[in-house]
Amino acid sequence: MIFKLIYPKWKKLEGQTTFTLPPHGPVVMAASLPSYVDVSFVDENVEEINFDEDCDFVGISMMLSTQVKRGWAIAEEYRKRGIKVIFGGISTMLHAEETLQYADSIFLGESEGKMEEVFTDFKNNSLKKVYNHMNNRPPIEIVGPARRDILKRELYNHKGVQMVDLFHASRGCRFNCYPCAVAFLGGREFRPRPIDKVLEELETIENNRLFIVDNSLAQSTEWEMDLFRNMIPMKKKWISHTIEDNPKVLDLAAQAGAWYVYQAVFDTSDYIKERIKRYHDYGIGVEGTILLGLDNQSEDDIKRLIDFLLEIDLDLAEFTVLTPFPHTKVYDDFKRQNRIFDTNWDNYNADTVVYQPAQMSPERLHELYRYAWDMFYKDETQEQKMFKLFTKVVLREMQDNTYKPRNRDLANHSFGKKVVRNRID
């Protein structure tokens, strides 16, 4: 049986250098498919969908709200051809009721141990409209290595440089941050994978550079330290979200190959300044993630925050505007206050203002958002700053003999497309 698994395209953030990373959700889901299912994977961000290619059943995996409308359109094309379509993934859970209108079936929750039922029902022509496993999460121990073999590796390559592989060591999040839907999606219980399972999966990844996509590694000191301690011999280099602010943890993280972390910068306090410095003291780079448009931010606060970012020596910064994603507290608050004026999910890309900010107009917030990008990168472009970070990792790899030169065969390609070079002869 051929199961065509599709990852819909979306419009990338304006102003941000576009790098297309291999997706994580589809490869994790593919690992839970019954053995008789052949997967044909298409990531529409790097290749076109051939709607007329043979397949028996279509799965649409969606991570972002900005993918849902495209996902629905893809489903319509296949259903017109008489092929059944099932949806899954994070944004299927966030937009389940609407997605149902475009689907033969939707799957809610985590797929491990649940796919046999779905495919048996499909074969028996008795597919259920909803497979609801939101409240029936699999034991974390059964989460095995993802099926990265379904990816077309050469499409996630920029001029010979392979993009990082995505990987997860835990699920769930005990924090329940204001703009975040993770608590709804993965539960508020932190579920770390057993270290031996994590190592088993890491062994399967040829790529030396990873992005550990866990919501926050800083949820269990003991597990986090154990993880890093065990990763040291692997000599991987990796990006992650926040690491615990503890000298012992940071030291182990650095030894385990921490390349740079995403760190939320929400105010101009000494705490933030010192936090960034501590990462740097251990040789770990920092990409600040800065959310603009919170109710407590005035125009002056935002300008002060941008000045502050330039002072604290961040390696990179990513700006987003507050976006009230469904099933978050911010969504609840704005819904009650009748402040959401745009429910076109294509605009829920975190660079479009879809709500009435408390202290300025939506237009002014968007201007400040553009100003933030421009000011932060005024002296050194994003590409230049990224190149500096890239150089750091290459030097570290050279020191520990893990450096792999770029693939010269792909030197004239970027994410599957030919690069046109302007040569002066």
């Binding site: 389940a96 609801n132 939101m134 329940n176 508020r188 099933h327 609840d332 009650r336």
Partner: protein, 123 residues
Amino acid sequence: MKIQKKDVDIIFDFKGLWDMPSKCGLKIYHKKDKTVVIVTELYKENSGTSITDVTVSLAKQICEKYAIEPEKLIYIERNPETNSKLSFYSEKNYQVSFDIEDGNISNPSYIEVSADDLKELLD
């Protein structure tokens, strides 16, 4: 003789979105010609759906369980004070109005109410 219903002050277990087991604080005050229901968000203590994500369903579940006539319902959603540094987690109360037809609750709309307004509702 009409028996006065007892007031309620409990942690209420309810079915959240997609039947997710969920919890909220629940206070019910039976007044002469109205029943004031205050549902409180529990944040970390609630592993399920927020009270606002399922406003209508939660109000129905409470009315059914405690035999409250929707026409007499005064429904308050409360975000409790969490002593957080973030202002979004300070106490807020919203009175929720519903369309009620043949005892059926739908179409919630929210108005923030001050502590004084709330006190007045409870008097």
